[in-house]
Every structure is written in C-alpha cells, then in structure tokens.
Amino acid sequence: MNERSLTLALMDPPYESANSTTALRIISAALAHGISVNVFAYEGAVCLPLQDQAPHANPVKGTTLEEEDHPTTKAFISSLLAIGKDKLTWINCGLCVDERGATNVVDGVKRGSPADFFKMSSESTNTLVIPTK
C-alpha cells in the first residue's frame, strides 16, 4: 500500500456535536498532507451535506445574515470535495438517506451502503470511527 489513505465513519447530525467540526478538520488536514480520505456518513451524518441548509441572521443578537456569516456543514463539505478532487470520496448511507428524506445533497456526494464502508476500510491505511456519544 503506497498511497496513504484514511477512512472515516461519521454518525453525528450537523449542528449537534463538536464531533462534526473535528471530523471536518481531520479531513482537511489529511487532504493538505496528500492523504486520500474516504468518508462513510451513517445515521444523522447523512444530513451534513444537505443542500437545503441555509445560513441565517440572528434576531436575538440583532445581526444580519452577512454579519452572522453562519457556517454550514454543506459549504465545508463542498469546499473539501473541491479541494480534494479524486482524493476525497464521500458516501452517504442510502437507507439512512431514505429514512430522513435527505436526498438533496451537494455535488460530489455519493450514495452507498455499509458494504462500501467495509471495502473502503479494507483498502485504507487506517479507519477511524467517530460514533455518537
């Protein structure tokens, strides 16, 4: 195995846990170091790349949409897919997608099954599972 690669399994939905932020940081750092990354998004994590996510103003703080500059996980994932190109594969669990109606995802996200996770894990240098608490 010459090329180093990392497979991640993610389970947390967006905006619920710092796990998502850390996972995105790990992906970014790996790509920056030339390490290929496979992501298998399971359960609520299939909503991380949802196209329907929208940034918002904060009426409590009185900030506008622009001032709030609210980050979305879909924007992070789009950027990582653009940066990583063929070095980043993101697969959403199909059954989890159907359960949640989470079909409208950003370009580059694929649909798959736990069999894909097994294959990616088998072919990777290492695998990191980031479960829900």
Partner: protein, 107 residues
C-alpha cells in the same frame, strides 16, 4: 508492537467513562505497546494542571497530546497544561493514525 492512539473527546467532569480510556491506555502500555492519548474537544479540560486528572498516565509512559484548536476555543493557554501534556495540531493526529500497525480509537 502496535501503536495505539486513543482520542478522548469527552469532558472528565461530565462523564465518568473517561476512566475507561485512562485505564485501557495504561493496560495497553503495560503490555509493551506504544500508546498516545490525544485530547480533543471537551477532552482537553482534563489537560489543565489544576485538574490533576492525568498524572497517572504520564507516569505510566503514555504520551499525552492536547488539540491546540480545542485549547484555544476554551481559553486554555499552554502554561496552564499539566506537566507532560503537549499542545498539538490536528495534523499531528492525522499523521499518527496513517502510520502502519496503528489502531485509532475514538471515545
């Protein structure tokens, strides 16, 4: 020898099960393996010298790293860290877990 990387994301003052990682890390180290505990997210709260939570890991020869981003988020400065705990970039974790014969366990 196998390398073990335990990634501790949980606040030891919120969850008693952080003891699981501490005890497992020491047990694996005692069996002759190389062991690192990487503290991230609320896990870095254990890294403060005033917390006195992880001295037994250092004494056992377990390497302790604390995610610099998580430290900054929580206002913890390097001089507040307990002896033997080093601030570390996420890149260090990534490089560690893509080494051969390495097991990475998230908690």
């Amino acid at each position: 020898m196998t390398r073990y990387i335990f990634i501790e994301s949980r606040d030891p003052f919120e969850s008693r099960d952080t003891r699981f990682v501490e005890e497992t890390a020491i047990a694996v180290k005692e069996r002759g393996h190389e062991v690192t505990v990487f503290l991230v997210q609320n896990g870095v709260l254990a890294a403060r010298k005033n917390a006195s939570r992880l001295d037994h890991l250092t004494a056992a020869g377990v390497a302790l790293l604390a995610d610099d981003f998580s430290l900054r988020e929580r206002g913890i400065t390097p001089d507040e860290l307990a002896a033997g705990i080093q601030p570390s970039a996420i890149e260090t974790l990534v490089e560690a877990i893509v080494q051969t014969n390495t097991k990475a366990i998230w908690h």
